[in-house]
């Protein structure tokens, strides 16, 4: 129970299902996650799940899953949205500030220092040659990541409706070709892509329900 666990305030309202961690415990946890989060988002998500669901049971697995899918719909970095949402659930506004600070302090500090060090040597011929090797590698990673993002989306389209996959592929190629040849404002084009797929889904759903009722 909550009283026996170290580092917990007993919730004033006596809600034992959602014990609130104290600020310092919460900060230390996020700091540890931030410091260990080498290798991108997936590893970090796992660390968060382990810390908040497995070990401390501050969240149920389905609450975590719900939070995670909400974060996919949020602008910006998904992992930061997850951090904000969990911080809010556990301690309200102060929880958000504490969690973000904990997660970002190690990684931001290291990122800035690495860049500063790099900026000092970036004109050195060896460094320039190294960069020429790194850029194609980064592009390779970018291609892989595009595929990882696109795959579940396209798979979902394929499983719902036949035409939806075709619309997705059209949106994908049209936005690429438009940028290549006409350089339109990117934001407008992304919104157009979204609107096209959204309208198509909506029209299909409407026709489907008409067929059912009529």
């Amino acid at each position: 129970m909550a009283e026996n666990s170290p580092g917990l305030d007993v919730n004033a309202k006596g809600n034992a299902a959602h014990p609130r961690p104290n600020s310092w415990t919460l900060f230390r946890l996020w700091l540890a996650i931030g410091a260990q989060s080498f290798g991108g988002g997936t590893a970090t998500q796992y660390l968060i799940y382990q810390a908040f669901v497995d070990r401390r049971r501050w969240l149920r697995p389905e609450e975590f899953a719900h939070s995670f899918s909400v974060c996919q719909l949020t602008p910006g970095i998904n992992l930061l949205a997850l951090t904000i949402l969990l911080g809010w659930r556990l301690r309200g506004p102060s929880g958000v500030a504490i969690s973000l600070a904990g997660l970002l302090l190690p990684s931001v500090t290291i990122t800035v220092l690495m860049t500063a060090l790099y900026a000092g040597v970036r004109e050195h011929p060896v460094v320039r040659a190294a960069l020429r090797g790194i850029v194609p590698a980064t592009v390779g990673l970018g291609l892989l990541m595009s595929w990882q993002i696109a795959k579940p989306l396209l798979a979902a389209s394929r499983s719902i409706r036949n035409g939806s996959l075709l619309v997705d592929l059209l949106v994908l190629t049209t936005s690429g070709l438009f940028v290549l040849y006409f350089s339109p404002p990117i934001v407008a084009m992304l919104l157009a892509g979204g609107t096209a797929a959204g309208t198509y889904g909506w029209l299909r759903a409407r026709t489907a329900s008409r067929v059912e009722t009529g």
């Binding site: 602008p75 290291i110 989306l153 190629t173 690429g176 404002p185 909506w202």
Partner: protein
Amino acid sequence: MDLLLYFWLLLKASLFSTGGLGNLPILHEDLLARGWATDRQFAEALAVGQISPGPSGLWVISLGYLTAGWAGSMLAVIAICLPPLAVLAVERVYRQLQNHVFVEGFIRGLSISVIGVFLVVLVRLLQANGMDGRALAITIGTIGLTLTRRLPVPVILLLAAAFGIILYR
């Protein structure tokens, strides 16, 4: 450089995208058009973002430093922390909207559009770096090595750096 406008461009790119690299196409367009960043700086920032800890989205902080110094990196931190705060509002409406076909399709279409644009930006980065057989070999090699899951990403990038030194010096 107008730092307020610079901050707005960083914020806008993050507001209209999801994921760590979704803001790349918008920033690439806005900053290059004003001459505030170069393809090389983008490539450098992306590489640092991959090697350093934390979400890969922190590459923007590196870009901030390279293009506008310490102030730029701090503005970038603020710009990437603000948009995800919308999660608190999104959470409230999520239950009502999760079965809404338009919203569902819109989000999918937006994400797919981002990928279409992203692919073009990747090719442009490759071209700016000098597209040749060596570069393509490194690209393909990286994809192959990453897919085997034998080596962590920072190690693969260090290998690419070593190949760069051998092949391009």
